[in-house]
Symmetry: C2
Subunit: 354 residues, 2 copies
């Protein structure tokens, strides 16, 4: 087996989820992640924990949508919930063989299903959980790379000294929490929000692998201004590109997209919460040098910020509720991030790099 896969498994078990004797571990994986599942089984067993693995692919989801009527789509998966109630740790491995299997499903059905999966999502987030990627040719293709390049990309972002990364991210969190607001400025962008009473989280590889972001939930009705997200992203099998949003009293009052504007519109109109921001965040992972249409990596790119429409995280003291959480990213190499009167980032340098 590729020694990088074994190293990846070790980071997931020892750093991300800190698995210990007696833990029950649920893995969620697509078939192409089998190698990483095997590496995890050995490492998890060495710790004295017990693994079980769920198979999950977008082709399976697609087949479900193809067969299900409304009543079925609305039915929560009671057996999945029961499993999640009893696990201590969840490790989700994304390794799709086709990233477009859901492209032609009515987005309303996808959203309708996510409402039925609300309890699953809540349970998932209440555990020691981590999401990661195992390289596949489908992801390499989406990233515009050969498989070898893509493997280098994934392990270059993942096999880091997470203790050292963590120290820098916690330093940023401390600085941000000294202030009551956050502001992103740059080309076509001046977005402001209050953050008092909210928690900035240093995402240091516990929940996402790779990670590298410091994020909070803004006070919902204080988001003001406009922003231009220059990095494309995927939703429901569609690439959305060049999103411009204008906010007043926390709500989107104007929006456009250079590509897939209809899908953006659907997202914004899902519910009350999907027209508000649930997250504002700063990417810090300098091991990730380009976007690959995979949010797990793209939102962590160094020299970027991102915002999410929809559901806020409770760990941030966020209150925005929604069936969705859709991240959008902006390069900041020509911009500035300020909190109160402090410059957190300016044109290529974080404050701790000065």
């Amino acid at each position: 087996m590729d020694s990088r896969v074994i190293e990846h498994a070790k980071i997931l078990v020892e750093w991300s989820t800190e698995i210990k004797r007696g833990d029950t571990v649920g893995i969620r994986a697509s078939p192409d992640a089998h190698d990483l599942v095997v590496a995890l089984y050995k490492k998890i067993a060495e710790k004295g924990a017990i693994p079980i693995t769920l198979m999950s692919t977008e082709e399976m989801d697609r087949a479900f949508f193809d067969g299900a009527d409304d009543e079925t789509i609305d039915t929560p998966p009671k057996h999945f919930e029961a499993l999640l109630e009893t696990v201590d740790v969840i490790i989700a491995l994304r390794a799709p063989s086709n990233t477009k299997a859901l492209a032609n499903v009515d987005p309303k059905k996808v959203i309708q299903r996510s409402v039925a999966l609300k309890r699953v999502q809540e349970l998932y987030l209440s555990k020691r959980w981590c999401l990661t990627v195992h390289p596949t040719t489908a992801l390499a293709q989406q990233a515009n790379m050969s498989m070898n390049e893509y493997q280098e990309f994934v392990y270059g972002a993942t096999l880091l000294d997470w203790k050292a990364e963590s120290e820098l991210m916690y330093k940023m969190k401390e600085h941000l929490e000294r202030h009551k607001d956050i502001r992103f400025t740059g080309p076509e962008t001046d977005l402001f929000a209050l953050t008092e009473g909210r928690i900035w989280i240093a995402s240091d590889g516990k929940h996402n692998m790779p990670s590298g972001e410091v994020f909070t939930a803004p006070i919902e009705d204080t988001v003001e201004g406009k922003i231009y997200f220059d990095i494309p992203f995927m939703q429901q099998g569609k690439v959305i590109e060049g999103v411009r949003l204008t906010f007043e009293k926390g709500e989107v009052v104007d929006f456009s997209a250079e590509k897939s504007e209809a899908t953006l519109k659907e997202i914004i109109e899902i519910d009350e919460g999907s027209r508000r921001l649930g997250e504002m965040a700063i990417g810090t992972n300098r091991g990730i040098k380009q976007y690959t249409l995979n949010m797990l990596f793209d939102e962590k790119i160094g020299d970027t910020i991102h915002c999410a429409l929809g559901r806020a995280y409770k760990e941030n003291n966020g209150t925005n509720e929604s069936a969705v959480h859709v991240d959008m990213i902006k390069t900041m190499i020509e911009g500035e991030i300020t909190a109160g009167d402090e410059v957190i980032y300016s044109k290529g340098k974080y404050f701790y790099e000065k």
Copy 2:
């Protein structure tokens, strides 16, 4: 998708497990069964039921054994048990990419783990469950066939008129239950057991797909005589061949094997129950014309009988308890099956073919 895969899914959902609206369905599958999983998802959703899939391979089991100490091997999987408590239906799809991944694991560890999985096994058997195979090159290789030949073999055994098969099997069950005993005779074989108060089950594709056997649990201490099993079979990654057993008062008092006798010895010595028969059975599926070292098919071959050392099924009113259930098969083309004074099978013909 191969239309035979869709037909296979339809039989599993409509005939084997009779899935209906509101059912929670657990599928257990190896990655190579993904096509059949996808076909099942559509069919299950059409019925208004909710599927979830567990990934399971021998490579994963092997990695677990490689990492686990004794305490870990003895730990039951509480999360797996919780999942099984809440499912109505279980469909297990065997589609190994390597049938020998467990060949070099100490058989004692495998047995030790199966003791920790006793509750899992009990829960499994308490549901509407069905076990089937999806063709893989590993199974084709084990069967000494090309992949195309092997697909023909699997679907030739599986895509039958199960209603018609069921009627013949139920006829055989009725005849067997008129009598108080069963006797298998033939070359090197004369095995007798009482069956009064026990139930003969017509296995007509509800629990195994393909199926085609009528089986019971003999009264444990009444098995007398000797038997020669001429068809090879696999246990713990080893091929065991040419097994001869002699019984007195239900217990194995003498045994030998032409191949892998040490593994046979380990099985017989696992516990009190593993030296007694938990099952005696008649194979009836004429769609299966040769053995392939896969018990799901081999024990159903027409013109054969089989016996299992170890655990009896409660549905037969069987009482034998054991951590194992190991089937062994004998060709009956030169032999005879009698129940009381009635000939059930003789040299190529079942009673209903006369």
